[in-house]
Symmetry: C2
Subunit: 461 residues, 2 copies
């Protein structure tokens, strides 16, 4: 039972507590919890403990739960809510290379006052430490007024989101009863590109794959062997050049099985957003959309499957020049999935393509790096309408139901393993440079994000 | 005037001096003179000074001559020869990465006793420090018997052979009169693959090129931008996959202008060598020749032009997985040239291909890394017959005139700038692993190589 008066007091408490909340976030951001780099395993543990201690200090029943990989942090508040809710975020971060492109050290976060407002600069500021802390700080403000935490909350914080979440599905299965709730709240998405508040209702899936092609048992002299010996970099290049055709369509057999066309309703909604692909690209120094001919910009990033080469390496690419015929070549590639595309089937079709083009003297090794189907939420749950008006009220702009190009496998996992839908609300901006040097999060996103969760909690608990 | 008796005494002196000669070579190999890595510039200077001091100690008039790059070491003996000779070698070495593939540190050379005989293990043992020292030690043995050095010798040692020789041509132009001789002796090649002594009479040329493709002004999240933003790695891959067709022929316009077919005589000579491509490849863990259909193995490595990708890099290829859409991609490629192919024309044709396939949002930067035409020697110079019988006598096997797949631009430079031919005599083996981890040089190559030069000098000076 929350009166408007109580709500206003909680919102005010959040504003009054902003400086202290930012200090806490800075402490969190100083921990280099890069989950994909084994050298940082200890830092990931430190970040988990830091978060557990914060939650316990707020009165949550909080634990660090070890897995075979990085740990999960779980917490619960007292029962007694109209409906219980599971909140999800991740405390691990992306690698920081190329380090020399950072204007300040990625793990020495700082507040920068820019013409458009203050920003929090540092790896993880937006993805996802800053975002998950908006919910924690909402709970803190709530308790400072009500004396108790919002009831019926379950919190789940993951430390492997940026490294394929190997431990997540087993953990969800082992703790299904403890984690299941009426709805999941996920804070790992952004607002619409013009800053309009948004609830993400569909996400692309992901298939990540690493390919290693080996040929000779050593690097060779390209003069002595060139023209006679297989070059694994050439083999890799020839294979990767066949995955897409000239129209940007992916050529793997059966790849488009289960890819839906946009409904007219959704197409109309998205058209109304007035997305300008050229303007969107201009923020990163580009201007010409590539990709499938005959598709709109939003379709390409929200509703069409893609193939990207995320990394490639082979031979000598350092200073100077080395006339070597390389012994091996490596690529990391990924597919974004939509609709009902089957990650396993697409991974198999890709591996078949590689195998079919492999010359006699080459051997290939595959490593799977995460696979998850796309997700579409059931927006008939009244919580979506409630949240939409809460966001509209907080930001003073009509909130939108949007799609997202990124993959948040957890949403699909919640559906498949816990049988529950997710409401994806986030406050990131397109210029937050997540996964890139100089990542930032607007202080305004952090402040209004906290206030937005207060409104949502007031309406739902 | 040399009698057989004197010759035998010099040969004996070389054998007696072998242990001390190996000690000197070890000192030389301990200097990490990697010319392509700016971090090793000081080591290259040290190697030059070491060599100058050795030569001065032998009675040569020797100098270290600085250039805008790494220095040249030059030396002369007293006049009075039947014909003066210019000897060339290079004291710089290849980079050593991947370092973890070395069984012992590359710059801690050692003698290893193997079933087939002792070898000198270390970077530069064969390419080219060990080879050039065979000539220096031949001069030492000569002087110990004659009391004087072989007359009419000019020595030129380069420190940039493994990094495109940027200073060489200007140096040759500036010192043409001092360097010109009746014939150049170059010791940077190998014996025929079965260990038969050989004089290399034709060499492939080289065009080395680095391509850097830039797209967005930062690495992007492949979820947020994938499908809409240009991926420079994909662009690079698509371009490099078009350079060769399915038959292994290079598709650049005019590429084969000036490529000669083998003369029937030469084809017959080479056929008589009984080259077995499968056996040759089996030494490096391969078995299937690739390359142009319908060409013999020796043709492919000695007499046909090639295209190789020597290195490629872009995006994230480290541990784990990073769903990044890279901002840039880099490749290092090279062409091997034959006959009268024009390096400049071929570089231009390659750059045209890249430019023609570049999408609107990508920019390309090119860096030239060396360009030299192929070389064919005039084997009518009687010195070739004299050297052939000297080699035959020393090794007890009929010496052969052969080709070489590698590029030794100096031979072409001597022809074009000094108007003199070169006689390429070397004692390397196909399993010396030059340019690769665990490079070695047979002690027998070092010993008989020294003795071979003694015989050649006795016959020519």
């Amino acid at each position: 039972m929350n009166t408007d008066k109580q709500l206003d007091r909680v919102l005010q408490a959040a504003d009054d507590g902003l400086p202290a909340a930012l200090d806490r976030l800075m402490d969190f951001l100083r921990i280099p919890s890069i989950s994909t780099d084994p050298a940082h395993a200890g830092d990931v543990q430190d970040a988990a403990r830091w978060l557990r201690d914060e939650l316990a200090g707020l009165g949550f029943d909080a634990q660090v739960q070890q897995t075979t990989g990085h740990p999960m942090v779980t917490a619960t508040s007292q029962p007694g809510a109209a409906r219980d809710l599971l909140f999800y975020g991740h405390y691990d971060v992306q690698p920081v290379d190329p380090l020399d492109l950072w204007d300040s050290p990625p793990f020495e976060p700082r507040i920068e006052d820019l013409p458009d407002g203050a920003v929090i600069r540092g790896r993880g500021a937006a993805d996802d430490k800053g975002q998950l802390m908006t919910f924690v700080e909402a709970c803190r403000a709530w308790k400072s007024v009500h004396g108790t935490l919002p009831p019926g909350l379950k919190l789940l914080f993951e430390g492997e989101e940026e490294s394929g979440s190997p431990s997540l599905r087993p953990f969800l299965r082992d703790h299904a009863d403890a984690l299941r709730a009426s709805l999941a709240l996920i804070c790992d998405t952004g607002m619409y590109s013009d800053g309009r508040p948004a609830i993400t209702t569909q996400l692309r899936g992901l298939v990540g794959e690493e390919i290693i092609i080996d040929a000779a048992d050593r690097d060779l002299h390209s003069g002595s062997f060139g023209g006679l010996a297989a070059n694994p970099v050439q083999v890799l290049v020839d294979i990767l050049s066949t995955i897409k055709d000239d129209t940007g369509r992916i050529t793997l057999p059966g790849f488009y099985d289960g890819v839906p066309e946009l409904t007219n309703a959704l197409r109309a909604d998205w058209d109304s957003l007035g997305f300008d692909a050229g303007e969107f690209l201009s923020r990163v120094g580009l201007k010409q959309p590539v990709g499938e001919t005959g598709r709109s910009g939003l379709e390409m990033i929200w509703a069409r499957p893609t193939f990207e080469i995320n990394g490639i390496a082979g031979g000598y690419a350092g200073d100077g020049f080395k006339t070597v015929l390389p012994a091996k070549a490596v690529a990391k590639i990924s597919f974004r999935l939509t609709g009902d595309q089957d990650p396993d089937q697409i991974r198999a079709a890709f591996r078949d393509r590689v195998q079919s083009m492999l010359p006699a003297d080459c051997r290939v090794t595959f490593h799977a790096h995460g696979g998850s189907p796309a997700s579409r939420m059931n927006i008939d749950d009244p919580a979506f309408a409630v949240a939409k008006s809460a966001l509209t009220e907080e930001w003073g702009r009509e909130a939108a139901f949007i799609g997202a190009g990124g993959s948040i496998p957890i949403a699909g996992d919640f559906q498949q393993i816990l049988g529950m839908d997710s409401m994806l609300i986030g406050f990131g901006r397109d210029d937050d440079r997540i996964h890139s040097p100089n990542e930032k999060y607007d202080v305004e996103s952090f402040r209004r994000g906290t206030r937005s969760w207060i409104r949502v909690l007031a309406a739902l608990t």
